[in-house]
């Protein structure tokens, strides 16, 4: 008897979201099956991969990272160009970390100037994020979203505390929105309902289930993301059918396993491949759980993930 491959039938599909401007638009999502199961139906064949750029030099990054970017880290424009031209990032994730009250407390106007300069310097789509301070982000984003009007950027991160401001400015200036909830699928659905009830188009939401890195809660993020995808595809839950962003670089490069030098931890081997692999494996795990967009810090991690995604997409 001939073997027939058993196939799942899915009731729902993931929204397709277009980001960027002019000739440099990208598509997130649009898949109709679980990740990479292209023998069952339409799977994602490409996943946009972004590199992080900060408005101010973060100052505390691991030597493996500062060795890559060098003095460019003092100038967001130069840094963004490097990510686009040299490291071929599909997108730039511009973090306005200098606006945080504990990290310089830069004004919305200062942040707006950086956004304007980076937009002028690169062509790839932008993800423009605040400093993860709910109140300050709401104040900053009003101005920054206007500066970036009609560039099809992704702005964020909207949380339960500030979603109304984010929804209003994203609608007004034509941006997509990252909706962040605290590692809880029920809260994620709730935030999406709140956003759509406030008048925001659910087709412009990108879910952030809150990333965590290998060894520090990766399995929690994985499980939440996986259940979000199952609700979207099997239960046809429209409030869970948004593409998902994986903010991997930030959570990976703050842990000691990624940062510690070989002198401090001789048993762990050379620092650079250790950190790069940590970031790569975390990102790949989230892609298996249904991630549609990854933010990296190390370009070599981005490169390895790009290669693996290409292999998985053509394997079937």
């Amino acid at each position: 008897m001939a073997f027939t491959v058993p196939k799942e039938v899915y009731n729902g599909k993931i929204n397709q979201v277009e980001v960027g401007r002019d000739q440099h638009k990208l598509i997130l999502g649009g898949e109709e099956v679980l990740p990479f199961l292209s023998f069952e139906g339409k799977a994602v064949s490409t996943v946009p991969l972004a590199l992080e750029v900060h408005d101010v030099n973060p100052g505390d990054w691991a030597p493996s990272l500062t060795a890559v970017y060098g003095s460019a880290m003092n100038d967001p424009v130069q840094w963004a160009r490097m990510c686009q031209d040299e490291f071929k990032a599909d997108m730039i994730c511009l973090r306005l970390s200098g606006t945080h009250p504990d990290n310089g407390d830069r004004s919305a106007e200062e942040a707006g100037k950086v956004v304007q300069a980076v937009l002028a310097a690169v062509k790839v789509p932008l993800i423009i994020l605040g400093s993860n301070h709910a109140e300050k982000d709401a104040a900053v984003i009003k101005h920054v979203a206007e500066v970036a009007a009609n560039t099809g950027s992704i702005i964020g991160k909207a949380q339960e505390k500030n979603y109304k401001t984010f929804a209003a400015v994203a609608t007004a200036y034509g941006h997509k929105l990252v909706a962040l909830s605290d590692l809880d699928i029920n809260l994620s659905k709730q935030l999406n309902i709140l956003l759509t009830q406030s008048g925001f188009d659910g087709k412009n939401i990108i879910i952030d289930a809150m990333s965590s890195t290998l060894g520090y809660g990766l399995e929690y993020t994985y499980s939440v993301m996986e259940r979000i995808r199952l609700s979207a595809l099997q239960q046809n839950d429209a409030m869970m059918q948004m593409p998902m962003i994986c903010d991997v670089g930030e959570v990976t490069w703050k842990i000691k396993e990624a940062k510690a030098s070989e002198e401090d931890q001789p048993a762990w081997g050379p620092a650079k491949p250790r950190g790069v692999l940590w970031e790569t494996l975390t990102a790949l795990s989230f892609l298996m759980a249904g991630g549609n967009l990854v933010v990296f810090r190390h370009p070599e991690a981005l490169g390895m993930v790009r290669k693996t995604v290409a292999e998985l997409a053509t394997a079937a």
Binding site: I185, I193, Q197, S231, Q235
Partner: protein
């Protein structure tokens, strides 16, 4: 669970007049209200429609599908009217209904097959109402056999155990719950079932009807009911549908789950 809106019905004077005069306005309003209320299908009951059934049904189907994006359940004993409706229907319609009477089955099952429609099979023979769950299953088997003979997929057949009023036939109501449970066991994947819910509270005091309706619906969903023709303008009904779906882990809980489909 499939919630089929019951309100567009020839037995309501407003609609019998609107049907006759081809006055679409009240029909449009009711179609939109029911879908907003939570209906994911609408029953269109034109009664026996002996005179101009086919014209009336195709007029209704074409116009209603212009204003709401849900499939329709074509409810009439006039098979020609059903075919006229199926011919213009977009998407997967439902035929309401055939009984287990061989003549009706021979007439309606081929229509379901030809138009790829779902079909309600009343577990009712010419001899009158079935007396218990077992008789309902025996009639269900005849309906399923006719479906198989005419090439209707089992998942398109919705078995109807025939809802009766609790006021008068109390002992039958629990037989209906039992039948819904047994229907599921008659096939793999389980057979679908449907009830005309409001019948359970027929002739009960008006103030009691919603309570009886949504309590019975909750119990029926628990034993596996897959569809019901209901009053989707009664919030208690749709709230029961959504809450049972969450409790049975068929849709994801969140604080505002009542506010989405």
């Amino acid at each position: 669970m499939l919630a089929i809106g019951e309100r567009i019905n020839v037995r309501t004077k407003l609609f019998s007049e609107a049907f006759k005069a081809r006055n679409f306005e009240p029909i449009r309003d009711m179609a939109i209200r029911q879908v907003k209320g939570g209906a994911n299908m609408l029953d269109i009951n034109i009664g026996p429609a002996r005179k101009d059934g086919p014209e009336l049904m195709s007029w209704l189907v074409e116009n209603i599908q212009k204003v709401v994006d849900v499939p329709l359940c074509l409810d009439t004993s006039n098979a020609e009217a059903i075919e006229a409706g199926l011919a213009v229907h977009k998407g997967k319609a439902m035929i309401n209904s055939t009984s287990a009477d061989p003549d009706r089955l021979a007439l309606l099952m081929p229509l379901a097959a030809k138009y790829n429609a779902m079909i309600i099979g009343l577990t009712l023979a010419t001899g009158g109402l079935p007396r218990d769950a077992n008789e309902r299953c025996a009639l269900a088997a005849e309906i399923m056999a006719a479906g198989a003979e005419h090439g209707v997929p089992m998942e398109d057949i919705y078995l109807d155990p025939i809802m009766v009023p609790i006021n008068g036939q109390q002992e039958q109501v629990k037989e209906i719950l039992e039948a819904i449970k047994l229907f599921r066991e008659m096939n793999d994947p389980p057979m679908n079932s449907v009830i005309g819910l409001s019948n359970v509270s027929n002739s009960a005091p008006e103030a009691m009807r919603s309570l009886i309706n949504h309590t019975f619906l909750t119990m029926a969903i628990t034993v596996g009911l897959s569809a019901a023709i209901v009053d989707t303008l009664d919030p208690a009904i749709i709230q029961a549908v959504k809450t049972t779906s969450v409790i049975l882990n068929q849709s994801l809980y969140c604080h505002s789950y009542l506010e989405t489909c």
